[in-house]
């Protein structure tokens, strides 16, 4: 039986936690610690969260509660294709929520989640400043304008096709 948590946290984060421990209410720095972790790794792993719990003396269930409560925290790495639906006012008025729902249904994931095959992650963004093209979806660095829910399956297939061509080239 394993008795110790694995030490996988980078040194800067451990040092930061040590500083927090010298302050009043160290547990109140939990979000700050998780924030730093996500900045560095892109998402929070279970091992990292458990080690934060140990070092900061905060129950693991509580860390898990905070990490799952805030939209900001990701618990899975981003997919090869990062899909982002703009929910700015203009896009929203033009039905961005329906596009988001179409992606949800098509991929079987919710916001901030990644498909099991690791290909697609779904996110939303605030106004991208191209309201003339509303509603807007970005997939990695490609921008798609005036998207309709009906086009969603096609967008996904196109991304998959892109992947195949790049892979055959390699």
């Amino acid at each position: 039986m394993i008795t110790e948590t694995k030490n996988t946290l980078p040194k800067e984060i451990c040092d930061f936690i040590d500083v927090c421990l010298t302050r009043e209410h160290p547990e109140s720095y939990l979000i700050a610690v998780l924030h730093k972790l996500q900045q560095q790794f892109g998402y929070l792993t279970r091992e990292h969260m458990d080690e934060v719990a140990q070092r900061l003396h905060v129950p693991a269930s509580f860390v898990s509660g905070v990490a799952t409560f805030y939209h900001f925290f990701r618990l899975q790495p981003r997919g090869k294709f990062s899909i982002s639906v703009c929910l700015g006012t203009a896009c929203f008025v033009k039905g961005a929520d329906k596009i988001l729902d179409a992606f949800r249904a098509e991929l079987g994931v919710d916001l901030a989640e990644t498909t099991k095959d690791g290909l697609f992650s779904l996110d939303c963004t605030r106004c991208l400043g191209v309201c003339g093209l509303a509603p807007v979806v970005t997939i990695n660095d490609k921008v798609y304008s005036q998207v309709t829910p009906q086009q969603v399956p096609d967008l996904i297939n196109r991304a998959k096709a892109d992947l195949e061509t790049t892979e055959t080239k390699v």
């Binding site: 039986m1 008795t3 948590t5 969260m49 129950p59 799952t68 409560f69």
Partner: protein, 584 residues
């Protein structure tokens, strides 16, 4: 303290400052409906069922969380309030399965009772329902989040009383879920299997893992010799399951009921308790002599043992190596008893009835399997499960004639009975250890200084010329307090008794749900149950474990003496640090 005068439902009320509206209403016989509120736990204010109208306030106020103020005018029962409360209950039901008839808590569910008393007779809203699989990885506690109404009582008891912090509210909004960290299966969590979350849950979102099917099957198997033994605290609480007042001792009718259910032999876990004292007193004497691994900490409570392994592995050397009374007796059944009666231990089916869900886990520890691969305890029933079996079999408990345990493993001293309450193991051990250490018979058998009504008690006991420092803790947050004290070296203790559940086994996670007008963790109930055990003890002729004649026979015939090699092989065990590490 200042007295506050207010009006509730047109009645004048005077209560001390700081009282809540709910409490103030209770003093004049007004029971405000509630769901998330539970005395002894922190305030949650989540369900809003307890709302009342306060003159001048813009919105309805949650009476569990609102303090009284001078001149307040409160209405608890206006038509508007009643309607609003009913709407709230209907909204909860809207997201709750409609399967009362097949639910384990049918007839004992707080939500069901509440809905009925609110006059909800049909389901008006039919909306989106949360769907979850039942999580049944644990040997002790199963989680069914579909039935959870998010009152957070379980989260609170697990943190505030047990200090385990296994449960938390995860995700948000409609997807909110109460579960261990990372939604881990309970078996892989720091859960210590105490079952307090089951006790406090108003619905069936937490339940014990059912063992009744296995027991029915064994009872109807002609090739099995089915033996049952019951824990000390069962006799103090089982009556409540049949509507008898708390504190009614029910040793003998329980024996009769077990015989009617078809058990071949009915023994008493108490015998195992006497045996535990023999071994533990010997352990204490040895350690006092050598001065090593003090304080000695008791090991009967499987919730505490798992807590030890997750949270305080540094205290493993201090913890008694004695198996629990349950496991000791089960071991005897498949060794000593089997040999004596020329029975193949594989055909003996041992059922223990326990106040405890953690005993189910204990029975499945690999350490408690015989070398040939079978468990010493085949099935563990909680008090609740036994009550249900007795009812299901059509046995009218109240009209049973008293029966008696079989011998030799059904005879016990009074010291064994008090194992069921906090401080009892300590007192039982002191009775035997004192005589062993001084060589003189005790004049006073009652060590009232360790009889705790609180969660934590310390005492210094004079034994001959020596003084031994003892501590008794129940509820693991209290255990934490005492263990931290030991770590800081603040006081030299010699013996510490730790029980995971509030009040000891009498407050175990498998005991009957409280009857109407009572609540879980009610100190009044715990006192009555403890009282029943102390009375049984007082009434016995033999009140010291070492004077149990059958225990004496057992040592003569089988173990030679406490701490012998054979005793070590069969009656002692070991502990291992466990992952995930608990956070203290």
């Amino acid at each position: 303290m200042k007295t506050i005068h207010l009006t509730i439902d047109d009645m004048q009320v005077s209560v001390p400052e700081g009282t809540t509206l709910m409490q103030a209403a209770e003093t004049i016989g007004v029971h405000i409906p509630r769901l998330c509120y539970l005395p002894n736990l922190s305030l949650e204010g989540a369900c809003r069922i307890c709302i009342v109208e306060v003159a001048g306030a813009r919105t309805y106020q949650a009476s569990c969380a609102t303090k009284v103020a001078e001149g307040m005018i409160v209405k608890t029962n206006s038509p508007e309030i009643r309607q609003a409360r009913r709407d709230l209950v209907e909204l909860i039901l809207d997201n709750h399965p409609m399967e009362c008839q097949t639910c384990d808590r049918d007839g004992q569910c707080e939500l069901q009772t509440l809905a009925y008393s609110m006059g909800v007779r049909e389901r008006l809203f039919e909306g989106k329902r949360k769907r979850y699989e039942v999580e049944d990885s644990s040997f002790s506690v199963i989680r069914n989040s579909e039935k959870c109404i998010l009152c957070r009582r379980c989260v609170r008891v697990c943190s505030e009383v047990q200090g385990v912090h296994n449960l938390s509210q995860l995700y948000r909004g409609f997807n909110t879920l109460v579960a261990p960290a990372h939604v881990s299966p309970m078996l892989e969590s720091v859960c210590i299997n105490c079952g307090q979350c089951i006790n406090v849950c108003p619905t069936a979102a937490f339940l014990e893992k059912d063992s009744t099917d296995d027991v029915w099957a064994a009872l109807s198997d002609p090739n099995k010799h089915v033996v049952v033994h019951i824990a000390p605290s069962i006799r103090a609480a089982i009556g409540e399951g049949f509507g008898l007042p708390a504190g009614t001792p029910e040793t003998n009718r329980t024996v009769t009921a077990l015989r009617r259910l078809g058990f071949d032999v009915v023994f008493d876990t108490n015998f195992g308790a006497d045996l535990t004292i023999m071994e533990e007193a010997h352990e204490l004497a040895t350690r006092l002599k050598s001065g090593e691994n003090l304080p000695l900490i008791t090991s009967c409570s499987p919730g505490w043992i798992k807590f030890l392994e997750h949270f305080y592995p540094e205290f493993i050397p201090n913890t008694s190596t004695c198996k629990s009374p349950m496991t000791m007796l089960s071991v005897l059944l498949k060794t000593y008893y089997a040999e004596k009666h020329k029975l193949d231990p594989k055909n003996i089916y041992v059922v223990s009835v326990m106040p405890c869900t953690a005993k189910k886990f204990e029975s499945r520890r690999p350490e408690h399997f015989a070398p040939a691969g079978y468990p010493y305890t085949d099935a563990v029933l909680t008090t609740r499960e036994l009550v249900w079996m007795i009812k299901a079999y059509g046995i009218d408990f109240k009209h049973l004639t008293p029966g008696a345990f079989d011998n030799p493993l059904g005879f016990s001293s009074g010291a064994a009975d008090i194992f069921g309450t906090t401080g009892g193991v300590m007192e039982a051990a002191l009775r035997t250890a004192a005589e062993a250490l001084t060589g003189k018979p005790l004049t006073e058998l009652n060590f009232t200084e360790v009889r705790a009504t609180t969660g934590l008690k310390e005492a210094s006991i004079k034994i001959g010329d020596a003084t031994i420092n003892v501590a008794v803790a129940n509820g693991l947050n209290n255990a934490k307090t005492i263990l931290e004290k030991v770590k800081r070296g603040e006081k030299q203790f010699h013996l510490i008794e730790i029980m995971a559940c509030p009040g000891g086994c009498i407050g175990g996670g498998g005991q009957p749900y409280p009857s109407e007008g009572r609540y879980v963790l009610d100190e009044e109930i715990l006192k009555l149950r403890a009282g029943a055990l102390y009375n049984i003890d007082e009434a016995k002729n033999v009140r010291k474990s070492h004077e149990n004649p059958f225990v004496q026979d057992l040592y003569r015939e089988y173990f030679q003496h406490p701490g012998s090699e054979k005793a070590h092989k069969l009656l002692h065990t070991h502990y291992t640090p466990r992952s995930p590490r608990g956070i203290k």
